[in-house]
């Protein structure tokens, strides 16, 4: 028990010592996860909406696949991405293995189904009414899409928050394609895993606290944008 408390105490010392290595690791984690969430949003939101509001053959089967991909284990995504990016793999000539780019690719593959799935779900439930309303008011395609995004704002934000949360906290994919290389591809989660392996608990706890704080802060901001405002508007 004393052991754990010592860990927390040393953790605070470490955070406030402003170690440049810690900054670099945190910065890289944010960069990788924010980038992949952004790309996943650009791909996943329009696709999710389109799939949600239209009825097409095989919609049920595709939605089942989509929901399955939402909970795909990150480590397997890392494994398969590595197979493609390795020197001996089909994309080997781009030398992407053990780079932040590879990590962004892997996390984008991880997060896109999540965002797409949640948006698809919301669009399926509420989208049709919005489209019909838009049509009766004489809106064209672009207007309808804009209207949809505005009306589904809450669902889209939840999708983003979920996607980013998944990205920033996963360790399997970034470990395999990034390699946890000091100064190049070390992120918060791989740092924690490595130090835990080495029995260095206080730095692990320190980084864990930082990770949770950032996660809380970022999610609070995203939440404020959508759902939070709506509740305040109601007063």
């Amino acid at each position: 028990m004393q052991y754990i408390l010592d860990g927390f105490v040393e953790a605070f010392h470490l955070i406030f010592s402003l170690d440049p290595e810690i900054f670099q690791i945190v910065g890289l984690s944010l960069f990788v996860s924010l980038s992949s969430t952004l790309i996943a949003t650009v791909i996943g939101v329009p696709l999710g909406i389109l799939m949600g509001i239209n009825n097409f053959k095989g919609k049920r089967i595709i939605s089942r696949f989509l929901y399955t991909f939402m909970s795909f284990p990150p480590v397997i995504i890392g494994l398969f991405t590595a197979l493609f990016l390795a020197r001996s793999g089909p994309l080997g000539q781009f030398r992407l293995m053990y780079t932040p780019t590879a990590m962004i690719i892997a996390q984008t593959i991880l997060v896109t189904p999540i965002i797409m799935g949640i948006v698809f779900n919301h669009a399926s439930n509420s989208g049709y009414d919005v489209v019909q309303t838009g049509k009766t008011l004489g809106a064209d395609r672009i207007n309808i899409l804009t209207l949809l995004i505005l009306e589904l704002k809450g669902g889209i934000m939840i999708a983003l928050v979920s996607g980013f949360g998944r990205a920033i906290s996963e360790v399997g994919a970034v470990m395999i394609v990034g390699g946890n290389i000091k100064g190049f591809t070390r992120v918060m989660t791989t740092f924690i895993a490595m130090n835990n392996n080495m029995g260095q608990y206080s730095v692990s706890i320190a980084m864990g606290i930082i990770l949770m704080t950032i996660s809380f802060f970022t999610n609070s901001i995203l939440y404020r944008f959508s759902v939070g405002e709506k509740y305040e508007d109601r007063d």
């Binding site: 440049p20 900054f23 670099q24 945190v26 910065g27 890289l28 984690s29 944010l30 960069f31 924010l34 390795a86 020197r87 001996s88 080997g92 000539q93 030398r95 293995m97 053990y98 932040p100 390699g179 946890n180 290389i181 000091k182 100064g183 190049f184 835990n196 392996n197 080495m198 029995g199 260095q200 608990y201 970022t218 901001i221 404020r224 944008f225 405002e229 305040e232």
Partner: protein, 285 residues
């Protein structure tokens, strides 16, 4: 009023993203230091955990301008990476596998670099009485442990340490199996943590143990110094014929550097808590 708040928050957010991107530039600076390219060095987790590479590699990078990407995996995976040409140079400690690697044509030659040793660790109360019966003989130690049988924690991951552990069991003519034989499938640090929790016995490289000694409060060295416990390291430049992305020049530069007299001296100067960890063993030219 609310709108202004939102704008402020957006700016804070963008600022955070910009800051995070800016914080990434140290990595880019390091890459710039790799102005003469980079090499991927596949090594073992125990080598990385010992802290030796953090100590000696800056010397290589400043001398040659070649950035070293150290990928620390188990010996098995390091060798596989060499066979697939995913790494440019290997630094491992599994002689049998290294020789096989060269014999199979994946490299021209392997070189001795340094050695350290393994130690047998056990709980302070030593239920298998290894300290009194085994001396510095690892085979006797393992035999005593299996006789009880006391908990023995194995890495079980085809690593250099695991290879040595299995060699000792073989020399003792014992096939370890049963509830007392715990397989972690993990790196040295993790395995030591498990051993400490279970208060069992295990085989560890001295450097990792030295680094973790403060947290391994339940364990101590019960057997050390015997010939079978020596742990020699080899450096191998992967053959450039495997694929055209191997940085053969960089790999050769690394091999030359690590075998050079200055670097050998540097290796011997690496200490943990005042204790030298590695003994250089490159052939004198």
């Amino acid at each position: 009023m609310k709108k202004k708040w939102s704008v402020l928050v957006i700016m804070l957010f963008v600022g955070a993203v910009a800051l995070s991107a800016a914080a990434c530039t140290p990595a880019e600076k390091k890459l710039e230091a790799g102005s003469n390219g980079e090499i991927i060095l596949a090594t073992t987790t125990s080598t990385q955990d010992s802290g030796l590479l953090d100590y000696i590699l800056p010397n290589f990078e400043s001398q040659t301008g070649i950035a070293v990407k150290v990928v620390a995996v188990g010996t098995g995976k390091a060798i596989e990476m060499g066979k697939n040409g995913e790494a440019d140079v290997l630094l491992v400690h599994a002689r049998a596998q290294e020789d096989q690697f060269v014999a199979d044509g994946y490299a021209t030659e392997r070189f001795d670099v340094m050695y350290n040793d393994f130690v047998v660790l056990g709980p302070k109360d030593d239920p298998a009485k290894v300290k009194t019966t085994a001396g510095n003989d690892a085979v006797k130690a393992f035999t005593a442990i299996a006789a009880v049988p006391s908990t023995f924690v194995s890495r079980d991951d085809a690593s250099g340490t695991n290879t040595k552990e299995l060699a000792i069991w073989k020399a003792a003519s014992i096939t370890p199996e049963g509830d007392w034989y715990v397989r972690t499938g993990s790196g040295m640090g993790d395995t030591l943590t498990v051993t400490n929790e279970k208060l069992g016995y295990t085989l560890a490289d001295r450097a990792t143990y030295s680094n973790m000694k403060d947290t391994m409060t339940g364990l101590e060295i019960v057997c050390e110094g015997g010939k079978l416990l020596l742990n020699p390291y080899g450096v191998i430049a992967v053959s450039p014929t495997i694929n055209d992305q191997i940085n053969a020049d960089g790999a050769q530069a690394f091999v030359d550097w690590i075998l050079s007299e200055d670097t050998q001296k540097l290796i011997s100067s690496y200490k943990i808590n005042g204790v030298q960890q590695f003994t250089p063993s490159a052939a004198k030219k």
